[in-house]
């Protein structure tokens, strides 16, 4: 569009220049020709009139040409102005459109950027959560394993200790039983000696163990006779 206008303008200027050149040549030719003619046969007044007419005609042509030129220039100016306005409008429109496009692109990019950022963030959170869960699971598994190992070891130790204690206990039990028997035998014999001494002191004679037992049994018999057992 702009290039067409420019081309038209150039054509108009070329036409105008051509018209001016033609007019000038014509005037020159006329002037030279009439002078020669006038000089050859006619009067000076006739030539002047013709010259005047020609001049006026030329002036008219020039004015018309000028007017046309002016009109053309005016039109061209108007066209140029229109073109300029159109160009400006177009430019403005284009700029506006470009700005809008740019804004849209920017907006889209920003939205996309935020979306990507959000996705990335969500993904990171998920990754961290998964990582956290993995760590938790691993930790729990390790603790569980450790606990089980400890339990096994503890049970093993307990069993070992129990076996040892049981074995020691059996040995000690046997030793205590033997010791108890020995002591009881010793105590029995000592008591018997002690009883003998007491009996000697009180009764003037020693009471044997069987005699003591007889006295006890006699006491129980008497107690029965007394009705103590109902």
């Amino acid at each position: 569009m702009d290039s067409i206008l420019f081309f038209d303008l150039v054509l108009i200027i070329s036409d105008l220049a051509l018209a001016l050149v033609i007019t000038a040549l014509y005037l020159f030719w006329i002037t030279k020709g009439h002078i020669s003619v006038n000089a050859g046969g006619r009067g000076i007044s006739g030539n002047s009139k013709l010259l005047e007419e020609t001049r006026l005609k030329a002036i008219g042509i020039i004015d018309e040409a000028n007017n046309q030129a002016m009109d053309i220039v005016s039109k061209a100016t108007l066209t140029a102005a229109t073109a300029s306005d159109s160009f400006r409008n177009n430019l403005s429109h284009t700029s506006s459109a470009q700005i809008k496009e740019f804004e849209k692109a920017t907006s889209d990019f920003t939205a996309l950027y935020f979306q990507v950022l959000q996705d990335l963030k969500a993904k990171n959170i998920e990754v961290f959560q998964n990582l956290s869960k993995d760590i938790e699971r691993d930790t729990v598994d390790e603790i569980k394993g450790f606990k089980e190992s400890m339990q096994k070891l503890t049970i093993l130790s307990q069993n070992e200790i129990k076996k040892k204690i049981d074995a020691d206990y059996e040995i000690l039990k046997t030793e205590i039983e033997n010791h108890k028997k020995e002591k009881m035998q010793k105590v029995d014999s000592e008591i018997y000696k002690l009883l003998e001494e007491i009996s000697k002191l009180v009764l003037g004679k020693a009471l044997s163990l069987s005699e003591h037992e007889e006295l006890i049994e006699e006491s129980i018999k008497k107690a029965k006779k007394e009705g103590i057992f109902g």
């Binding site: 039990k173 039983e177 009881m184 105590v187 029995d188 008591i191 002690l194 009883l195 007491i198 009996s199 009180v202 009764l203 009471l207 163990l209 003591h212 037992e213 006295l215 006890i216 049994e217 006699e218 006491s219 129980i220 018999k221 008497k222 107690a223 029965k224 007394e226 103590i228 057992f229 109902g230």
Partner: protein, 167 residues
């Protein structure tokens, strides 16, 4: 299991003193506690945790009467009845001048069983000052048949004769 108390005769008659009964009852209570704590625990194994003497007595009763240690109902009823019978034993307290040997205790207990029947146990206290004989206490009744008492009575009865004899 039939509630036949005769199967407990050997165990009951083997218990002669309150000390023995307390010890045996404690062992039965421990066994029952462990027995009811877990169904996995074997009574045969648990018997190893009590004294050999008590364990032997229980094993002999089970063997003699064809009782099954693996039958929880039989075991439960056996110990429950045994515990009840032990709780019904009557206590005769006797004060002696000496600490009797196991044999002497056995002799005294056998004498009581022959004289009064089964179901009696002895609570023995030693008091040397009674010199010989025994003080018998049962159901709040007290009778002193000690030699010391006899001597004291003799002194009281024949005090005049004794004083004059000394004098």
């Amino acid at each position: 299991m039939k509630r036949d108390v005769s199967i407990y005769f050997d165990i009951i008659t083997s218990l002669k003193t309150t000390k023995e009964v307390e010890s045996f009852a404690g062992e039965i209570d421990t066994l029952m506690l462990k027995f009811f704590e877990s169904e996995e625990v074997s009574m045969v194994k648990m018997l190893d945790s009590i004294s050999e003497d008590s364990s032997l007595k229980i094993r002999q009763v089970f063997a003699k009467n064809n009782l099954d240690f693996n039958n929880r109902d039989t075991v439960s009823k056996f110990f429950k009845t045994l515990r009840e019978l032990i709780g019904k034993l009557k206590v005769i307290k006797i004060v002696l001048a000496f600490d009797p040997s196991t044999k002497t205790i056995g002799n005294i207990h056998n004498f009581i069983t022959e004289l009064l029947g089964i179901g009696y146990i002895l609570e023995i206290e030693v008091f040397q000052e009674i010199l010989a004989g025994a003080i018998v206490i049962f159901n709040g009744k007290y009778i002193d048949f000690s030699l010391k008492k006899r001597i004291e009575d003799t002194f009281k009865e024949k005090a005049d004769q004794i004083v004059s004899a000394i004098g």
